[in-house]
């Protein structure tokens, strides 16, 4: 068979696009010039990026975010299940919890935990007794303040995820003789994860930055450490730049992790999974190679 003659037409020219691109680039250049002329000592930023104090601040930010997120997730699942329970007491308690912790500022909650000794001067658990001021360290106040606040948001995310799963799934599982809790664990939650993971990744990235509020309870996270340095070196804005670069690094790393996690829970939801960044890179390289070695038409 003779192959049909391929169309070779002159493409439409989009002059508007050139104009728009030129305007955008011009604005970016102006902003860049403004920043470079500002009284900011950029030279010292690279040195402070790997400063011991800053590194320890970044580490504190990372681990308080992870721990608070874990606390928020576990408590969030419990609150979501309580909220959907047919027991009016548990569902009301869950509703009240979410109402309170979502409705008040995190900063206030952090400060409340830090000053909890005003309410409970002595912690007495029967087997353990101590002064509250000894127990409520900056770390614990940060963990409780951030984690319990996060739980309220996670509860709503988990509930939305669970409710997104088709009721037929629960019925099929029950019809096979599986109990309510096993159905939740084996059938409903794995499917809900597809809906839960993207906003949770969002929450985590938010958490990395919200954890900066823990400076108010003397927790040694990035912002607190940056301020510690600037109070002696007087390089205030420079230190905030250093901290911001670390926040960008942390959030970028976790964005990539989130991509892989979402891919994992997309199993079975579509015929073909989207390629991983590595696979995409390889495909580009292959495409590039094929430009060099065009296939010979037979």
């Amino acid at each position: 068979m003779v192959p049909p003659e391929q169309i070779k037409a002159i493409p439409v020219r989009h002059y508007g696009r050139y104009v728009a691109a030129a305007v955008v680039i011009a604005i970016l250049v102006l902003i860049g010039i403004a920043f470079s002329n500002a009284k900011i000592n950029y030279q010292i930023i690279p040195d402070y990026l790997t400063d011991g104090t800053i590194l320890s601040g970044a580490w504190h930010t990372l681990y308080i975010s992870v721990l608070a997120m874990v606390l928020g997730l576990v408590l969030g699942v419990i609150l979501a299940v309580m909220r959907m329970s047919s027991n009016p007491v548990t569902s009301t308690v869950s509703w009240l919890y979410i109402w309170f912790f979502r409705g008040t500022p995190v900063l206030v909650q952090l400060l409340l935990w830090y000053n909890i000794s005003l309410v409970f001067p002595i912690l007495n658990l029967g087997f353990y007794k101590n002064e509250m001021n000894q127990v409520m360290t900056p770390f614990l106040a940060a963990l409780l303040g951030l984690g319990l606040n996060e739980a309220a948001y996670m509860a709503e995310i988990v509930r939305a995820g669970i409710q997104s799963v088709d009721l037929g799934q629960t019925e099929a599982s029950h019809a096979l003789g599986m109990t309510q809790s096993r159905t939740l664990r084996r059938i409903v939650l794995p499917q809900a994860m597809r809906v839960i993971v993207p906003p949770t990744g969002n929450e985590f990235i938010n958490m990395l930055k919200t954890s900066s509020l823990a400076y108010a309870v003397q927790f040694n996270e990035l912002i607190k450490r940056a301020q510690d340095i600037s109070s002696t070196s007087l390089a205030v804005v420079e230190m905030y730049f250093v901290a911001s670069i670390w926040y960008l690094i942390l959030t970028s790393v976790f964005s990539v992790g989130q991509y892989y996690l979402e891919r994992r829970y997309a199993r079975g939801s579509s015929r073909n999974l989207p390629p991983t960044p590595l696979q995409r890179l390889r495909r580009y390289l292959r495409m590039f190679g094929s430009f060099r070695r065009p296939e010979v038409a037979r």
Binding site: E171, A172, A175, G177, M178, G268, S269, R271
Partner: protein
């Protein structure tokens, strides 16, 4: 594809597999079932037909307690479904006891309801491993054998989204059979399928019937009811209008309502 089920439950002597006595079901003000009396014998293929909204699916779902009945008594293999009777008092069964009753009753849904996050073989293995605490290797071996027998030996590792409707429904049948049930419920198993895919599902059901499985089938496939069915019930507006041998009822309906329904679907 013969001998679909290896260990057929030995039918209890003379006792009906399912017995309904004056079963009623209401959803709020809607009175769906208005006194159903019927018996399904072991090894019987029992077909339920009728217009949509007649209550046939609701009745089927009452048999494994997916719906609670509002009045009457419903027995499966001699046991009250969902309740325990002590004296003249009726006690609701605990969740685990209901689950234990459902183990022995397989169900196939109109919309398949396969677990989309599991492959075909994982779908079939799930209940034996989770409910019967079978080892994975034993469950996997039986799952693969069942998938072979429903003609899906080459689709074991596929996810439901990668299968056609007919293939999904055959996996769903294999999944129900993996629990070695004594009774199979089919809720319009071919209604959501493309016409050309209906045959492959009906073939599997026919083989299952020949192997001696007790089956209750809600269907619009009159051909299947005529060829495979042992009894047929026509339901309308929550009551049994007419029942008998499928060939007789379909060829020679006694009631006007049955005649007008059949004239539309045949």
């Amino acid at each position: 594809m013969t001998d679909l089920v290896k260990d057929m439950a030995v039918p209890s002597s003379g006792r009906p597999m399912v017995k309904a006595e004056g079963v009623h079901k209401s959803f709020g003000l809607a009175h769906i079932l208005k006194g159903i009396d019927l018996e399904v014998n072991p090894r019987e293929v029992f077909c339920l037909i009728g217009p949509s909204g007649s209550g046939k699916s609701t009745f089927l779902r009452c048999i494994n307690h997916l719906e609670k009945i509002s009045a009457g008594r419903l027995y499966v293999d001699g046991d009250l479904v969902g309740y325990r009777q002590k004296g003249d008092k009726l006690y609701e069964l605990k969740e685990k006891e209901v689950a234990a009753q459902r183990r022995d009753i397989g169900m196939v849904f109109q919309r398949f309801n396969l677990f989309p996050h599991m492959t075909a073989v994982e779908n079939v293995m799930e209940a034996p491993v989770q409910v019967k605490r079978e080892s994975k290797s034993v469950a996997r071996e039986r799952a693969e054998r069942l998938l072979d027998r429903v003609g899906l030996g080459d689709r074991k590792g596929h996810y439901p989204a990668q299968l056609s409707g007919g293939q999904q429904q055959r996996v769903a049948i294999a999944r129900a059979l993996a629990m070695e049930p004594k009774l199979m419920l089919f809720d319009e198993p071919t209604s959501a399928l493309d016409p050309e895919l209906v045959g492959e599902v009906l073939d599997v059901m026919r083989d299952l019937a020949e192997s001696g499985m007790t089956m209750i089938v809600v269907t619009h496939e009159m051909g299947f009811a005529r060829e495979v069915g042992d009894s047929l019930v026509f339901m309308d507006d929550g009551v049994v209008v007419e029942s008998g041998h499928p060939r007789e009822v379909l060829a020679n309906p006694q009631h006007e309502r049955t005649r007008s329904f059949l004239s539309k679907v045949l």
